[in-house]
Each structure stands twice: as C-alpha cells, then as structure tokens.
C-alpha cells in the first residue's frame, strides 16, 4: 500500500475517532465527567440504523436521522436519570455509575434477542432475528475510489465524506461555542459553575444541551462507522469509544480542536500500524501505550490547558 493512500485512510479512520472524541470532550469539558456510556450510545445508534434500514426498509437519510434523534433522547434520559442525581457527588461515584450505564446498554441487544426468540409474534421474531450478529450494511459502504475529471484519487468516497463531515462538525461546534449565547454559557459553566449560576445561567439546562450535542455526535459516529463496513454488535462502540477517549485526552480534553487533532493522530497511527504486518496485531497496544506515555509526560494533552491542583 502506498504512503499517500495509507495516510488518507488514516485520516478517514481518524475522522471517525475525532467525531467520537468531540462527544467525549464536550461532555468532559462542561459536565466534568467521563461519559463512559458514550461508546454504547454509538452502539444503540448503529442498531437503530441497522433495524430501520435493513428490517423496516427506510430511506437511508430517514434511518440516519432517526438514529441521531434516538441517540439524543437516550443521552438526555441517561443524564436525567443516572448522572443528574449525582451532581456534586465524588467523581469516583459518577464514574462508576457511568460504567454501570455502559454495561446496561451493552446488555440490551442480548435481551431483545432472548425476547424475540421466546415470543410468539412471528413478525417480531423475523425483524429481530440475528440481532446479536448483524450483517454489515453493504449498501452504505462505498469503497469505490473518487474519480474527478477523469483522475482517480487514492481515496474512497466514504473516506472522503468522513473527513469532510468531521471537519465541518468541528468548525460548526467551534463557531457555536464562540458565537452563540448557549455556547458562551457552556464555556462559562465549564470555567466556573458557581459564577455561571450567579450570572443567571441555568446549569442543568446547559448540561442537558451538552449531552444532547454529544449524543447527536454519537449518532453521526455510528453512521460513519457503519459506512466503513463494521457490522453492528453489542460491543460496537466499546473499543472505538475507549480509543476515542484516548484521542480526546491526547489532544487535550475539553478542547475541540484538540479532540479533532487527537482523533486524526490516533487514526493515522492505527492505520500505519495496520499496514505493517509485524505491528498490526499490536495496534491497540501501541495506541494505548502512546496514551499512557502522553498522559505521563503531558497530562493536559497537546492543546489542553494545564490544571493546577489547589488546596
């Protein structure tokens, strides 16, 4: 595989990581918690696309829109039921709850599977069959190379779309946070919650908006991952979620350009490891080693602001 093609594939994989990392970084920056369930919201999104597109024969745009809406609702519900009661509690408790939510969501497809198997409704049985090992959605995968003015570029259409969507999302989010009133309120909440409250900012509302945006990004990420030919599965979002969190940490958690940068870096690193046959089995080990090394020497990440511990 030649260098340019690997690089572009890496950018495309990195784009997916960057979108997931943006979701993590938004929530971490504003709600100050690691939303461990983010990867599993992606999983739910992927299942909704699989179900509506393959089993209900919806138009792709409708199924993608449905997935994003469902992810947003799911994110808001999780925030309301599991995380909001713990606002002000020790961070260890919040993290453990998030882990609980994550494994709760991961168990859902298997429960749907057992329900469909034991039910007498044949239509439901048929619709939910194979939920534990769904096939990849071939119609969404475009591996054809991009051809413009008769010249073939070394990048597939879905890869190009991924990169474009990532960059557009990043720019849109930055503009939203810098210019809009809600965005400015988010920055205020992230910098000093009490002061923001005194300035008349409704903190719970802002955090709900943050979760909604993060979960919408999870829906987008689910779409992008499906276009790469990954089939939906209960652990669909677990590993990419953790890798993307690493990317957010490497770029500097809380920083939007940092999350995108980290995502692209990790994606390129992983693709180059994959291209090398000696390194490819160790690609996750290498990615996580990089994470540990960066955390040890620059815990605030590449673009993050160092935090000082105060008494």
């Amino acid at each position: 595989m030649d260098f340019l093609e690997t690089l572009l594939n890496g950018l495309s994989l990195g784009g997916t990581y960057a979108i997931i990392a943006l979701g993590y970084t938004m929530v971490y920056g504003i709600a100050k918690m690691l939303n461990f369930a983010h990867g599993d919201i992606i999983m739910v999104g992927s299942y909704i696309i699989w179900f509506t597109f393959l089993r209900l024969d919806c138009h792709p745009s409708i199924s993608i829109a449905l997935a994003i809406i469902c992810c947003v609702i799911l994110g808001i519900v999780i925030e309301r039921l599991a995380y909001r009661p713990l606002r002000g509690a020790p961070s260890l408790a919040v993290l453990i709850t998030a882990i609980g939510v994550s494994s709760l969501l991961q168990g859902l497809p298997a429960i749907l599977d057992t329900i469909s198997k034991s039910s007498n409704n044949s239509a439901l049985k048929e619709k939910l069959s194979g939920i534990l090992n769904p096939l990849p959605i071939q119609d969404m995968v475009h591996t054809n190379k991009l051809v413009l003015f008769g010249v073939e570029f070394p990048i597939s259409i879905s890869a190009l779309v991924t990169i474009l969507i990532t960059v557009a999302t990043m720019i849109a989010l930055t503009v939203f946070i810098k210019k809009s009133k809600t965005g400015k309120a988010m920055v205020a909440v992230s910098e000093n919650r009490d002061a923001a409250l005194l300035m008349g900012i409704h903190i719970n509302k802002i955090i709900v908006v943050t979760f909604a945006i993060g979960s919408a990004l999870a829906g987008v990420a689910a779409t992008l991952m499906l276009t790469k030919g990954t089939p939906a599965s209960p652990s669909f979002g677990a590993l990419p979620g953790i890798v993307a969190f690493s990317a957010a940490v490497i770029g500097g958690i809380g920083s939007i350009p940092g999350a995108a940068l980290g995502g692209f870096l990790i994606g390129i690193l992983e693709t180059f490891c994959n291209a090398n046959s000696a390194l490819s089995p160790y690609r996750n080990a290498i990615v996580f080693s990089v994470l540990i090394i960066i955390l040890l020497f620059k815990p605030s990440g590449i673009l993050g602001n160092p935090r000082r511990e105060k008494v």
Partner: protein
C-alpha cells in the same frame, strides 16, 4: 478512652473483629463434613465444587481490588489484566514443572508464588502512572493496560497465543482446602494491612491527598505498595483460576471481568472487607447456580447487575438523597431486626451524654465560681480588716 469504628482500629481483642475468619472456617468445616461423611454424594464434586471454587477465586479478586478502590480511592479497571498475567505465567510454569498426571502441591506453590510475583511486578508498573494521574485518567490507563495485556498475550507463542493454554489441575478432591487457606491468608494480610498505621496512611491519601502529604505521608511509597499487593493477590487468584480451568483463554480476562469485580466491590461497600467477601460470594453464586447460570439468563444478569450498581451508587452518593439515606439504611434495618439501637438512637444517646456532661461541668463551674466568689468575699473582708 478507646473508641472502636467499623475497621476495628483498636488494639484490644474483640471477637467481632475476627468474625469473618470464623465464618469462613465454619463454611470450610461444613464442606469437609459433607465430603467425609459423603452426605452430598456425587453432588459434592459435580454441583458444589463448581460453585465453591469460583466463589473462592472471586472473593480473593474482590478483596484485592477493594484495596485499590476502597482504601486508596482510585478506580482500577485493569484487575482482570493482573489475573491474566498470574493465570498465564502460573499455568505455564505449572504445566512445565508438572510431569505426572497428578499435580503436586509443591509445584502449585511455586506456580502461585511466581504467578503472583509476576502480576505484582506489573502492578508496580501500573502504579507508576498512578503517581501522576488520578480519577478518570487513571481509570482509563488501567483499562488500557488490561487491553494491552490481553492483546500481547494473544501474540506470544510461549503462552500458546493466548488460546487454550493447557494447564494442570489438582486431581485430588482437596483443592478447595487450598483455596480456603489462600482466602484466609489474603484476608489476614489485607485486613491487618488496613488496620495498621499503613492502612490509615492510605485512607488519609484517599480522603485528602494534599493534607496527607503535608502530614509527611510518603505518597509514592504507599500508592506503589497498594498497587503491588493488590496485583499480587489478583495474580494468585489467576493461578487458582488456571488450575480450576482445563485450559485458559485470553478472552477470560477481558475488561468486562474487571468491571464484574468492580461491581462486587461497590455492592459490598467500598472499603469494607466483609462487604467485598459477601458481595463476591453472592454474585458468583448467582452466576454459577442452577437456573441463573444458564446461557439464556446471562444478558438479564448483566443488565440486572448494572442496574443494581447504578442504584446503589446513586443511593449512597447522591447529595439530594441525604435525608432519605439517614431515614432508611441497612444498618438501621439490621438494628431493627436484631433489636439493637439504630444510628438515630445512637446519635440521641451521644447527645444525651453530651448534655449530661455539660450539665455536670456546669455544676462544677458553678461550684468553682461559688468558691471563687466566697474566696473573693473572704479576701475582701480580710483586706477590710487589715485596713482597720
């Protein structure tokens, strides 16, 4: 006056502090009676042992994870990684040293110690990032460590590429006695560690690291010690697991196992030794007993544990539930059952004592002040007399 608390930090002997050893020994005694009298028949080997041995292994795992999560207050999501190292190193060593059909105890001891030491070495290495990182970052690093371990084991030919490394098993029927012995050793080490001055130092790091450092507590030493000891016992549990299983697979040690152990520790109550033992025994029992252990029940189990985890953590930590927590809690429930004093009544008792004390001291003060005023009056009279 000596005061006791939940961890029994007093030095005087109290049976209450040794209750857990007694219960474990009693369970062992019941099992031995069952075996020697043959009361359980073939059920003993085919029904009871497949529950008792996993319970033993998970009790050791939960106890050792409780050191990191409960006493040190850091979240470790890589406990299955240490278990993995112990299982593969110990299992491999045992299968290399073992020549006959029957594995002997000395080989098992060597495997246990070497497996534990290897895991402890990795625990030390994972402890190094813990010196600079805390909270969410450390959780992710330990999780990453778990994934790195399983990924690397999967590629090492020495460990059969992580899939079905054959391991010896103790053929005789007394291996549960060894497991019970190891549980007792683990319990003794961890409980005494927690009750020692080192344990108090570690808990002070958990409560306020900066304050602990100001008091001259060596944070580096204690954090590394906790991670190393915790990993050592996880490694030993791994070796026991490799003896229990006919062959070991890297997929047995994925990070969801770490989370399962974490669920046990959280359910038992973080920092509570007996809680960890009870929760580990209960959950492992449910996982392995009869109908609940069936494959079709597994997803419900996962979801149920997750729900319980969320509810328990919210109940114990939510700032909004403080009043609710004081009104309804397990301690008061037990107190009502055993007709002891509830925490509310205990508080009232203390308040009563305080008021009595203050009344007493008030009286003393009054007496004193009376004396003083009398003295003053006398001296004033004397002074007047002298004037005359």
């Amino acid at each position: 006056m000596r005061k006791t608390n939940d961890l029994g930090l007093n030095k005087s002997f109290k049976f209450k502090n040794y209750l857990n050893y007694t219960v474990i020994l009693a369970v062992l005694a019941v099992l031995m009676i069952l075996q020697f009298t043959g009361a359980a028949g073939t059920d003993f080997n085919y029904k009871i042992m497949p529950i008792v041995i996993p319970i033993g292994v998970y009790v050791i795992l939960a106890l050792s994870l409780n050191m990191v999560v409960g006493f040190l207050g850091e979240l470790s999501l890589g406990h299955a990684g240490f278990m993995c190292i112990g299982a593969f190193v110990g299992g491999k060593i045992a299968s290399l040293l073992d020549t006959g059909d029957n594995a002997n105890i000395s080989v098992m001891l060597i495997a246990l110690i070497l497996g534990g030491l290897c895991a402890a070495l990795f625990g030390f290495i994972v402890g190094l990032p813990a010196l600079r990182l805390r909270g969410d970052y450390l959780a992710i690093v330990t999780l990453a460590f778990n994934m790195i371990i399983t990924d690397v084991i999967k590629e090492i030919p020495f460990f059969a590429k992580g899939s079905n490394l054959p391991t010896p098993s103790l053929k005789d029927e007394y291996n549960y006695i060894i497991i019970f012995a190891i549980i007792l050793i683990t319990l003794a080490v961890i409980q005494n560690f927690a009750r020692s001055k080192h344990g108090r130092a570690i808990m002070s790091i958990r409560d306020n690291e900066i304050a602990a450092r100001t008091m001259g507590i060596n944070i580096v030493k204690y954090k590394l010690t906790v991670f190393t000891i915790s990993a050592f016992f996880a490694g030993i549990a791994g070796v026991l697991w490799s003896y229990y299983q006919p062959g070991i697979n890297y997929e047995m040690f994925k990070y969801n196992v770490s989370i399962e152990i974490l669920v046990m520790v959280v359910l038992g109550g973080m920092g509570s030794v007996n809680g960890s033992i009870l929760a580990a025994a209960l959950i492992t029992f449910i996982n392995n007993y009869g109908k609940f252990s069936e494959e079709s029940f597994a997803p419900y189990r996962t979801v149920l544990y997750a729900l319980i985890l969320i509810i328990v953590v919210i109940y114990r930590n939510a700032p909004g539930l403080k009043g609710f927590r004081e009104k309804y809690n397990m301690k008061d429930l037990f107190a009502k059952i055993f007709k002891k004093k509830t925490s509310q009544e205990k508080l009232e008792d203390i308040a009563d004592k305080e008021t009595k004390k203050s009344e007493k001291s008030d009286k003393k003060e009054q007496k004193l002040s009376n004396k003083v005023s009398k003295k003053a009056a006398k001296s004033a009279k004397n002074a007047k007399k002298e004037d005359r």
